[in-house]
């Protein structure tokens, strides 16, 4: 697992290939859009019965990141739960799992548009609308400089669609960490109006920075015919 280290708003940060953001100076681990309980919510609302394993998969990946970075603070940047009811309906063993991960550290659930309400008492940690640490941590980008989630940015690279960090001058947008989360292309107007020019860090097996919105001129190799 590699990461891409960069400076944003005077802070040195680490975009990890997992899709989590690490702030070494403070030992903060920041993840966005976990959407825990998504398949349950879809089933509850009469939609498709998706494979009910995404909460397990998301928590497994989160636990691995916590083990790797041993953060003092974990921040979920909003939409930690697919809705407030999903937070309440989360099976006990997942809550235990989260409590174990939170033991010995501070845990903050920033509210998102999917989970605006109160935290279910079985969960560890505290809730907040925003965090102010010289820069703002919030769910959806606002007055910069801020770190946010919400958009699930992704980028196309060599024919693959990969989730990505999007780093601009005023905004840093973190990819969705949750398993069943779609993506919005960085070229989409909703994102390009926030960050007209910047760097996307694609999350594959490694973290791969690519320019976004920069004019590029280069000779391309001859196309393969008959792909």
């Amino acid at each position: 697992m590699t990461s891409h280290i960069f400076d944003f708003a005077g802070q040195r940060l680490e975009a990890r290939a997992s899709g989590a953001l690490y702030w070494p100076a403070r030992r903060w681990l920041i993840v966005a859009d976990l959407h825990l309980g998504k398949s349950e919510r879809m089933a509850r609302r009469g939609g498709a019965l998706l494979p009910p394993y995404e909460t397990q998969a998301t928590l497994d990946r989160l636990a691995a990141e916590i083990l790797a970075t041993d953060p003092a603070v974990v921040v979920s940047l909003g939409d930690g739960f697919d809705d407030d009811a999903a937070g309440r309906a989360l099976p006990d063993h997942f809550c235990d799992n989260l409590r174990r991960m939170a033991a010995g550290r501070r845990w903050v659930w920033v509210s998102g548009n999917h989970d605006p309400g109160a935290l279910c008492p079985r969960m560890p940690g505290e809730t907040a609308q925003e965090l102010h640490e010289g820069l703002t941590l919030r769910h959806e980008a606002g007055q910069g400089p801020d770190i946010s989630g919400h958009f699930h940015p992704c980028v196309r690279l060599a024919g693959q669609r990969l989730r990505c960090f999007l780093i601009g001058r005023d905004h840093l947008i973190v990819p969705a960490f949750g398993e069943y989360t779609g993506g919005l292309d960085v070229a989409d107007r909703a994102l390009s109006s926030l960050i007209p020019q910047g760097i996307a860090v694609a999350c594959g097996n490694r973290a791969m920075p690519v320019p976004v919105g920069h004019p590029i001129r280069r000779a391309r190799p001859a196309r393969r015919i008959g792909r």
Partner: protein, 791 residues
Amino acid sequence: MILPPDFQDWFARQGWQPHPHQLALLEAEGDSLLIAPTGGGKTLAGFLPSLVELRDRSGGLHTLYVSPLKALTADIARNLSRPVADLGLDIRIEDRTGDTRASQRARQRRDPPDILLTTPESLALMLSYEQAPEIFGSLRRVVLDELHALAENKRGDQLMLGLARLKTLAPDLRVTGLSATVEDPQRLADFMGGGRVIHADPGPDPDIAMLATSRPAPWAGGGGHYAVPDVLNEIRRATTTIIFINTRAQAELFFQALWAENEDNLPIGLHHGSLAREARQRVEAAMASGQLRAVVATGSLDLGIDWGSVDLVIQVGAPKNVKRLVQRIGRANHRYNAPSRARIVPANRFEVIECIAALEAVRDRDLDGDPRGPGPLDVLCQHILLTACAGPFDADALYREVRQAGPYRDLSRTDFDACVDFAATGGYALRAYDRWQRMMLRDGLWRLRDPRAARDLRMNIGTIVEPESLKVRFRGRGGALLGEVEEGFAATLERGDTFLIGGMTVRYDALREMVVEVTKQPAKEPKIALYSGLKLATSTQLSHRVQALIGDPSRHGSLPPDTRDWLALQARVSALPRSGTLVCETFPRNGRWHFSLFGFAGRNAMQTLGLLMTRTMEVAGLGPLGFIATDYALLIWSLDPVTDPEPLLDRAALREGLGDWLGSNAVMKRSFRNVATIAGLIQRNLPGQRKSGRQATFSSDILYDTLRRYDPDHLMLKITAAEARRGLVDFGRIEEMLDRSDRLDHRMLERVSPLAAPLLLEYGRVPIAGHGVERLAEAEAAALMAEAGLA
């Protein structure tokens, strides 16, 4: 039933004699399958019993006609109106397709016409209504048109499940299937659920031959452009010509090549599935009114309205499949009892041999076709959910009913129950949805937990899963719609790239709100000629014929001289592939070792074999670098030579490799998406649903990976694996190839053999990329950063 006097008079007034098969259908007692060539009055034959019965009956739906094409339903309505008016029959005939207005549909539900013309998808929708028993209770007859085409895919399986439902709702129902010539009529009748086969007079043998060309076919390539002047000559001599080409991209290129030399400005049109619907309809209308002298088409014109004026069919490129060739030939001259005229243009030397083998098969009336196997379970899952939409059902009764459908006659109760469980709970090992089941068992009957879910389920009806496609328009406000390209193709485009669509070269400018914007680039060679489309493999039977022809020098007299010399040279320096023997060669070239294998197992199987063999070579340390697969042969290049091919072809090792490789394979993910969409695990993307500015839905690949990791025995994975083995992976044909080869004839050569040489010119090379995609992405990212001055 006999033909009533007023009907006899009507026939006489048209100057017609009723065909024997038309009378036979009238007299038939039970279900029937009519096999008739085009132009044999097939449709009238199918409807005659209904028209006679409807003379003395009124009230309620009497006859249901199902066709694979919307356009056919409208055409049939027009054609039937004439005898109905002439005979003074009081019969209401209406069509109902995806295009029918909602108000009309609602009225048809309350007050059905006497004869309803529809498609398999619209029938499935109607059967999902609570009122289905009232609508179909009075039904007496069902006519299934173009059944041979429907039986080739899941639309036919869905239709047969619907037919079983109809037989429950209307037990006196009689079914008439109408089909073009097929290799095994009884198998088609079994597919229909049983019935007597009636053969119409097949008519005279077609006038079919290779097109004599001024230049010989090239060594490799698939365009057939060398024959353009000869094809233009033929068009000039005929009244109307259809030119069939196997892929959309080749059709575009051939169309352009024709116009580049079309000095007489003959009106020639283009018709394929990537063109905008309006563009296709314009071409069809121009054909119908006789304004076009020729149309370049793909399989998009395999079915459809008969154009009486077509008197010549030209097939460019290998026919791949004898049955399809015969059906295409039938498109020429829709006058009964006149021979159809057709010419074949092989695109390269290998195809010359295939064309000659195919001509022999046509003359021998030896049609091909691989049995499709039992009805797929994803279609059954959809059927179960739609049955629940219509009302509560009893599982035992539904199981009995489903087994009345031909493709599902051997369905096991275990498989059926697994499908019901999937429909109800998702069928997961982790029973997570006990509270939110989609279907609940109450009082012994299965029903939807939330009846509002019926709306979403109905939106998901159908078994055709199109690859996500994007519209292509000229740049600027209200730019004209040119057609559609697959999303995967659009994703590879960069600004300034040029490609062909609608017979013109366009430049890619931007992707805006899910529309590909382009500018016209007159007189410029397109940079990207091909975009992906279905690659059809040569049928098993035809491949065998080709192998037998190559391997028997005494039959080489029927080949053109240059082809004959080529094979003679191969026999001298290496060996001719022949029935029962698998010929392979090892030779050096340009500092690389090459290994060729003439397996004749069809493109998909040969490609799979290439992937599996190169994996084994990788392990053996031979350093494989890439390979090419064609319908007949495989060519692998490597750092070290293959000296003993035996272990590479070990069946157990291949099968094991297949299991490993399939898991992470893109082909499997694509199959999974289709299966999961049909079964109702994921919603299909409806047009206009994806809007800019919102997160797109997550990809089905994530579901596939999650299931493989957490629930590897899930029903959807089983269906996907079964499907991939048959279809794109085609492992069955690799096994068949090994079965029929008792002997391995391996030659160590000093240089490339005559038969292997054209392979080096083929495109479609597959590079071996162990950790390739990731490395490629990294390299691309680094290059972009450097070029943007950011690294």
